[in-house]
């Protein structure tokens, strides 16, 4: 039964660079996230040391600002979510009955992008100064004009965040596809274990929220590197800022950031809630009370999370009706949490509560969260919120919430440690850690409520508050020390720990506890099924029997012509996902014909991306070193992507699976659709940004003041026709492929390519003309930096142009493949490309009127 998917053993270093297995990657995530916990935690201890007395005598003022800013960024982005996703990677496929994620190589790519984005963040410290404008990165302090020195470190941080966001987006697409296509038979969405369910809702929020953040970061990076002026504004000589050229600059950032930032709170907290619910069920020996309502509450929160963001901006001058609405939605979103808290409390009733380390952390997290929740209601009262704005009340409140989440996740680490390692940790040391941790936590954060009048991110405070700040500093060190106990315990237990069987916890129910610890590479001893209402593993014959009897339950009816190979590289470039026959898949499960699951490409793609971004951080200085690095990295990235696309990689769909509501959407297509959903938000955020700064400036004055008469409609109109025609040709290519006409397929794809190139050439001519106009109003051309209108025009249509370019690269690749005889009788790959291409065209149909007519 056992096989290795072509992977070296775990003791070999190369295994960890080649692996695409979800359990390996889960472990990599956990270890990397803990590294960033130490990184961010050390920074926190540094500035807590600074705060032991008033004044910046240790770090200096910029050192202090860098420490608080990067502490926030590291903890929010590089520690807490990836830590949760370490568990998600490891546990979700096991809980839902899948043998891996839907796109294993994409999963590895997510991890490596995450790791390298963190390394880039680390490198930024060595580029003069790193980012020092707070983790919320308010504009225009986040633009080069206000960053001391060359500011390359700050640019690196922005780029690192973009890289991180790419990792998150790939991960979201992957998890959603997995959870909707690969659930064990009989497992409806509402039936999946609560941790997996929390991850499902988390990735939905991630898919959309991070797309908004990506837009914000891309615009910011463009301000840093290309010289656009979205987040900058200038003053017309006088003292008052009424003549700003871009009066919407600051609030544009605030809106984009908080539209992401508030869902991010739940993105961080939901997995922790899932872990708490799992631990409560297991260690109380009770099923989650009010489970249905718990789930409904989570769904409500996930939906509402996108309509509360302005409560972070109550003092920015928004009007009373809007404030009232956002006050109501904010209170509304707090209520489902009340229900969830009571659901957890009543789960203990009539239970057999065992105070193991994971339960102590879960119970501790619940208590901390209750305090965080109550202090959050204070912030819901706007009159109080006004005065709490920018003070330690906010700092204390969100640490009680966020770090309560982290507390639950540490419980999760103890909970799944025996599953992951096959060894039991030392219970006594675990309990001691909890005691030290809980003491340190409250000593650190509770005094902040008392000293709440201290403004955030300052190193000066009144003498009267010294005692509380000193107490917090001491608490910080105690909290930090508790991790030494944890690291020691978990490390030493790898050797000294007792061996555990499949299930060390009485009353655990979910499927990860039904297999050995650690689970075998293929996860299950047969095909998992809940069809009878209880987990069982089906053998090959039963699978075949069942799929023959009810073909609807099988993956898909027909066999693929090319023998069932599929690749998962780059959603679009990948070849058709295979719908293997039930028979083939059954063999697949039992491991009779296992393809190689080792791939070095995800690592190389990410390394290339890292070099590219590091190079990009310095290109504005014109330095040869940075330019070379950017170019070399770019070549390496594209080369690796091509290598990844060409590598044979076999990840078949499951023979029997529960797939509601996407029974008829195969996994490649579903992946494509989810990716496009996030892309819609990305473009939506760009278009929204344009509308926002234009309204702030004055909708009609904009056209009059900022846009030259030379900016005419005709090039845009021609391009509209070119793109629409090309969309039609993609449809023809599909028809030709279906009819098995090789000539027709090649001709239609080549035609699409030609029209796309025509689009880019026309755009190039137009831009070149506008760059070099010389009129009275615009004596030195109309380029990216000329004004806010030119910035929005070039960047938004440029983003679209980049989408066209990517589409053309894929189209060229597919034309060559069609020439060599591919796709005949199986047009699915063309269909996936077509989805993307039509989407790009539709986006243009929005951009054309916005940037050429209105």
């Amino acid at each position: 039964m056992s096989h290795d998917h072509g992977l070296p053993p775990k003791s070999s270093v190369s295994r960890w660079f080649l692996t695409t297995n979800h359990k390996d990657i889960g472990v990599l995530y956990l270890i990397t996230a803990l590294f960033f916990l130490v990184f961010g935690g050390t920074l926190a201890l540094l500035f807590r040391l600074e705060l032991i007395s008033s004044g910046a005598d240790l770090l200096g003022s910029m050192g202090y600002n860098q420490a608080v800013s990067t502490h926030g960024l590291l903890m929010v982005f590089w520690f807490i979510s990836p830590f949760a996703f370490g568990f998600a990677n490891y546990v979700v496929p096991l809980q839902i009955g899948a043998d891996d994620l839907a796109f294993p190589r994409l999963n590895a790519l997510s991890y490596w992008l995450y790791l390298f984005s963190g390394i880039l963040m680390g490198v930024s410290f060595f580029q003069g100064t790193t980012f020092a404008g707070g983790w919320t990165m308010y504009a225009p302090l986040n633009t080069p004009a206000y960053i001391p020195g060359e500011g390359l470190g700050a640019t690196s941080v922005v780029l690192a965040l973009i890289m991180f966001t790419a990792a998150v987006t790939l991960g979201s697409v992957n998890f959603l596809t997995t959870m909707y296509r690969m659930r064990a038979e009989g497992l409806r969405m509402r039936d999946i274990p609560i941790f997996s369910l929390s991850i499902n809702l988390t990735v939905w929020m991630m898919l959309f929220a991070f797309a908004a953040l990506l837009a914000a970061l891309m615009i910011l990076a463009s301000d840093h590197i290309l010289g656009t002026t979205y987040f900058q504004y200038s003053i017309d000589g006088t003292t008052m800022a009424t003549d700003a050229d871009n009066p919407g600059a600051s609030l544009l950032w605030a809106h984009l950031f908080w539209f992401f930032g508030h869902p991010e709170v739940y993105i961080v907290f939901f997995p922790a809630l899932g872990v708490m619910a799992e631990c409560f069920q297991t260690f109380t020996g009770r099923r989650l009370v009010g489970r249905k309502w718990f789930i409904i509450s989570m769904v409500l929160v996930a939906l509402q999370s996108f309509v509360v963001w302005m409560h972070h901006m109550f003092l920015t001058g928004i009007n009373l009706p809007i404030k009232t609405i956002f006050m109501a939605t904010t209170i509304g979103i707090s209520l489902p949490f009340d229900l969830m808290v009571f659901s957890l409390i009543y789960t203990m009733a009539k239970g057999r509560v065992r105070f193991t380390t994971p339960f102590l952390f879960s119970l501790g997290a619940l208590i901390l969260f209750i305090i965080g929740g109550i202090t959050g209601v204070f912030l819901g009262a706007i009159v109080l919120d006004y005065q709490f704005r920018g003070t330690y009340w906010v700092v204390a409140h969100f640490h009680y919430v966020m770090v309560a989440g982290a507390t639950a996740l540490f419980g999760g680490l103890y909970y799944w440690y025996p599953k992951i390692t096959g060894k039991m940790y030392n219970e006594r040391l675990g309990k001691i850690q909890f005691g030290v941790y809980f003491l340190g936590f409250n000593l650190l954060y509770f005094p902040m409520f008392i000293a709440w009048e201290t403004p955030r991110r300052v190193f000066v405070y009144p003498d009267g508050l010294q005692i509380w700040h000193t107490m917090a500093t001491v608490g910080g060190f105690i909290l930090g020390a508790s991790f030494l106990i944890m690291f020691y315990n978990l490390f030493v237990s790898l050797w000294r720990g007792e061996d555990v069987g499949p299930n060390p916890w009485e009353y655990a129910t979910s499927a990860e506890w039904a297999v050995s610890s650690p689970p075998p590479l293929e996860n299950f001893p047969g095909v998992p099924s809940y069809a009878t209402g209880k987990l069982e593993f089906l053998d090959d014959e039963t699978v075949v029997e069942r799929t023959e009897r009810a073909p609807g339950a099988a993956a898909h009816g027909h066999a693929a012509t090319d023998g069932g190979t599929a690749t998962d590289g780059g959603a679009v470039t990948a070849r058709a996902a295979t719908t293997a026959t039930a028979m083939e898949s059954a063999h697949e499960v039992s491991g009779e014909e296992h393809a190689n699951h080792a791939s070095f490409w995800p690592f190389l793609v990410s390394l290339g991306g890292f070099i590219t971004f590091l190079g990009l951080s310095g290109v504005r200085t014109g330095s040869v070193f940075y330019l070379t690095m950017a170019a070399a990295g770019g070549v390496a990235t594209i080369g690796s992507l091509v290598g990844m696309t060409r590598e044979p990689f076999h990840a078949p769909e499951m023979a029997i699976a529960e797939r509601w509501p996407f029974e008829r959407v195969e996994k490649m297509k579903l992946g494509m659709w989810t990716f496009l959903a996030s892309d819609i938000v990305l473009f939506g955020a760009f278009i929204g940004s344009y509308a926002f700064v234009r309204v702030a400036y004055g909708w009609t004055a904009w056209h009059h003041d900022l846009i030259p008469a030379e900016h005419v409609t005709m090039p845009g109109l021609i391009n509209t026709y070119l793109l629409l025609t090309s969309s039609f040709l993609v449809v023809l290519a599909m028809v030709a492929a279906e009819r098995e006409s090789k000539r027709g397929t090649v001709a239609a794809l080549a035609g699409t390519f030609a029209l796309g190139v025509g689009f880019l050439i026309n755009k190039g001519l137009e831009w070149n003309h506008l760059f070099h106009i010389s009129t009275e109003t615009f004596p030195s051309g109309w380029n990216l930096s000329t004004n806010i209108a030119s910035s929005t025009f070039y960047l938004t249509t440029g983003l679209h142009g980049a989408h066209v370019t990517i589409g053309l690269i894929i189209c060229a690749y597919m034309t060559v493949r069609a020439w060599n005889g591919a796709y005949q009788g199986d047009d699915r790959a063309i269909e996936y490309f077509g989805l993307y291409w039509h989407f790009v065209d539709i986006v243009w149909l929005f951009l054309f009127p916005l940037f050429y007519i209105l």
Binding site: S61, M62, N65, V68, G133, Y138, L141, Y146, G186, T239, M240, A241, A244, P247, A249, S250, R287, L288, G290, R291, K292, W293, L315, G317, L320, T324, M327, I331, L335, D338, L339, F342, I345, Y346, M348, A349, G351, R352, V353, I367, I370, I374, F378, G380, A381, V383, L384, Y386, R389, G390, P455, R456, R457, V460, N503, A508, T509, A514, L535, A696
Partner: protein, 259 residues
């Protein structure tokens, strides 16, 4: 002559903000109620949680004391909910009522803070505030610009706040007034100070290396002293909008009058 001028000024421009409810009083009242209730709810809920955790702790005995009341989960079962959901709803309803009624109660206070006292009752002093890295400029109706905010006691002061560079936030914590200073836009806030003395204004949004030290003095003066001071600043500045000129004239008129 002097007497009639004073009478005239008091009738047309009533100067007293002393009977106006200060934002700090509103804040203190709400904060006290929230603290009291928040602490009570926190203690009750945490105690209730601990009660459940301890009461139902596993005593290590062989037999399950609740075997006849609840069913224990089994390995491999399909996840379902446990019994006892009704209590969740009761508790949830109580918490929802507390939260919603508390916030609803603060809403009327919010309307007061948003709109300020009835303009007919008071004659506000309007001051423009400009944040810059790393300090504040206060521009008076007569055009006088200073780094120290001087305001008369017991009078409504309305601030129009902006920034000339990055995002700041202007707050005088003791007087419970605070608003964002956003470049390119104005926000407004108001306050009255019932006690004379020197307070501190601070920046509440990270704005760069000098953020921690971006503080300035706010001096609340007796009205007559303020008028005297203001009259002296008047010589240089002829500019100012209509309101500004009116207030300036009025200040001049009151300048030599006994309080």
């Amino acid at each position: 002559m002097a007497v009639s001028l004073i009478t005239y000024a008091t009738v047309v421009f009533p100067m007293h903000g002393g009977d106006v409810r200060a934002p700090s009083a509103v804040f203190d009242q709400i904060f006290e109620v929230f603290l009291l209730l928040g602490t009570a709810v926190g203690v009750v809920v945490v105690a209730y949680t601990m009660y459940h955790a301890l009461k139902y702790r596993d005593d290590g005995g062989e037999t399950d004391p609740y075997a006849d009341k609840v069913e224990r989960p089994e390995m491999g079962e399909m996840p379902t909910g446990g019994t006892g959901g009704r209590k969740v709803f009761y508790s949830f309803s109580i918490s929802a009522i507390i939260v919603v009624s508390l916030i609803a109660w603060t809403y009327s206070q919010l309307l007061y803070i948003e709109q300020g006292p009835d303009p007919a009752q008071e004659e506000a002093l309007e001051i423009d505030v400009e944040g810059y890295r790393f300090g504040w400029d206060f521009v008076y109706p007569n055009g006088h610009t200073t780094n120290t905010l001087r305001v008369p006691q017991d009078r409504v002061v309305r601030l129009q706040v902006t920034s000339t560079d990055v995002f700041h936030n202007f707050g005088i914590p003791a007087l419970r007034v605070k608003t964002d200073a956003v470049p390119g836009q104005y926000t407004s806030a108001w306050f009255t100070a019932n006690e004379t003395g020197t307070y501190t204004a601070k920046c509440y949004e990270l704005c760069g290396s000098g953020h921690s030290l971006m503080t300035t003095d706010v001096v609340v003066m007796p009205q007559d002293e303020y008028e005297e001071w203001y009259a002296e600043t008047n010589g240089t500045a002829a500019s100012g909008n209509e309101t500004g000129q009116r207030i300036a004239t009025e200040a001049t008129a009151l300048g030599g009058a006994p309080a």
